[in-house]
Symmetry: C2
Subunit: 341 residues, 2 copies
């Protein structure tokens, strides 16, 4: 592998000159610059990452911590954000290092190991709890952190998240505007509500707000990670006095199963009941063209990466004003909402 010395020799200059050509931090004459560039090209030179980070204390790497979900093991959402973050980081000249599983979560050794060994310049934490001990741990190490999700104490750390409260409100309003008055909200799985996860709590808050605004009751029913149990609750809903004419569902993964189940009862969407999905992945609802408020994976990734990169470049920026990015929801009209009868 070619080193900076090889390049210097090939170009007939000193190693430091090569370095200055690369960094642009000192003025180098046009002809020298050209000679160095040619040598670099010819030798296929890339600076050794270890040496560079040792000397400059910058790695150009962002760590992405994808912890286990307490209830469901690996988060499918992690895969999507991995792609989003990797691409966004690439545009800033950063690579992404993974920390997954137990290691990535609260109390996990992985994040601290990466911070202490300077494997990365900053970390993006996902699946953050409303209160997260990892944030304080990293602050003590002076390790910049940005969070995907909205922590309880918003000024404690830089974060980016979808405005879940507004997302839920938007979904309810869309159904109201189509004329529905018997709207039910199928919230996140109950474990998440119990753990007071941010998107669960805020989603329900948004429903309450919209309900009050519109002057229409919108009952909230928690979903279940057990498909059979979920379908039982669905049955209970439709067996009641006045069955809903519209559903907003903040558990997108369950939607294909829900539609199948309703179809087996002869209930068709949107003929008999309208449906809005809240928080599904872009381009993925099991092939259903639902009316929906998507999880803005790309926007969130771009936002959180920008925060992380800024902090990495200037760790001092961490304290005074932790960056905040509340991303407004967008309603996408699909084929699962019809006017109320």
């Amino acid at each position: 592998m070619a080193t900076i010395k090889d390049v210097a020799r090939a170009a007939g200059v000193a190693p430091s000159t090569v370095s200055y050509v690369l960094s642009g931090s000192r003025k180098i004459s046009e002809e020298t610059r050209e000679a160095v560039r040619a040598a670099i090209e010819r030798l296929g030179y890339h600076p050794n990452a270890g040496a560079r980070s040792l000397r400059s204390t910058r790695t150009n790497v962002i760590a992405l911590a994808l912890p286990l979900s307490s209830s469901r093991g690996y988060l499918p959402v992690g895969g999507r954000f991995m792609y989003g973050l990797s691409e966004a980081a690439g545009e800033h000249g950063y690579d992404v290092l993974l920390i997954t599983g137990r290691d990535a979560g609260p109390g996990g050794a992985g994040l601290e190991r990466v911070a202490r060994s300077r494997l990365a310049d900053a970390a993006v934490l996902m699946g953050v709890e409303m209160e997260d001990p990892r944030i304080d741990a990293m602050r003590e190490l002076d390790f910049p952190v940005a969070v995907l999700g909205r922590p309880a104490e918003e000024s404690a750390v830089a974060w980016a998240d979808l405005d879940w409260e507004e997302a839920a409100a938007v979904s309810v309003r869309a159904l109201y505007e189509a004329g529905h008055r018997d709207i039910h909200y199928l919230a996140t799985v109950e474990e998440d509500i119990r753990d007071r996860r941010s998107y669960s709590v805020r989603g329900i808050d948004g429903v309450r707000r919209a309900s009050a605004e519109l002057g229409v009751p919108v009952p909230v029913c928690p979903s279940s990670s057990d498909p059979a149990e979920l379908l039982r609750r669905l049955d209970a809903l439709f067996d009641a006095e006045d069955p809903p004419t519209a559903l907003a569902v903040q558990h997108p993964a369950a939607i294909p199963g829900i539609l199948r189940h309703l179809a087996a009862w002869g209930i068709q969407v949107p003929r008999d009941v309208s449906l809005v999905a809240v928080g599904n992945f872009p381009e993925d609802l099991g092939g259903i063209d639902a009316t929906r408020v998507e999880l803005p994976v790309r926007e969130m990734s771009v936002a959180v990466t920008r925060l992380a990169v800024e902090l990495a470049a200037d760790p001092a920026a961490s304290r005074p004003t932790a960056g905040r990015e509340l991303i407004p929801p967008r309603l996408i009209r699909g084929g699962t909402v019809a006017p109320a009868p």
Copy 2:
């Protein structure tokens, strides 16, 4: 951040002694070792990754290249393997660095950049084509590579893959054994067949083999990435002279949509038609408990990681016998196969 010198001073020894305690490559007396360990603990010392890799030319990082799929953008499968690989690598003391998108594919600069700058000790390539120029490029750089998927020239590179041929054969046999004689195989999407992707071609080969073995014709129909088009083909299938009594489907993502569509026609699974899924993700078929041959994500990750780690430790091993891991399929019996009428 504490350095090895700080630890040495705190423990009253030379830095080299600390290093030997850490690596165990020289004998150190029990009491010195204890003193060093205590100092390390007290200071929260972790070796600086840059310095370590500079000196030792080992980074303890594996790069994971997740290229774009020509037809569908980001591979959902990438997210699953990311988790699998990260965990498997962790058990060997390695971290995982991501290379995604255009950068990760053939001709992409990412992989070469990582190799040349020694950001990683080895790479795992996924979504490898039957012929893949990246493999030769990495060989020229003496950069160890292991592949998730089965390349055309099997001895050219270390690889791990599900035995797709046998997987398809197993699915057909399972239906045959349940008494079905009108079995159809819904293969991968046609773009993949056109591109002669390994799992597509080998899946179809497996069907041919099973069909010949069993003495029963098994027509093969390519799937489509356009849901509407797929459903049209499905209709054509069931509108024909003798509609199938059983389907094997190597396009798991389409299965929820297929079931919904059949249900709308009054065709129930498994009452009217049996179904086996081939190559779905573990614990993910949109909530359907299908009879299936899963993609063994965990086994494949473990296997390919082992290959990559071996090559990283001893790059010379690359040439003589490139490792091969052909993972046998396992049929999981779910509720979508019934005896033939």
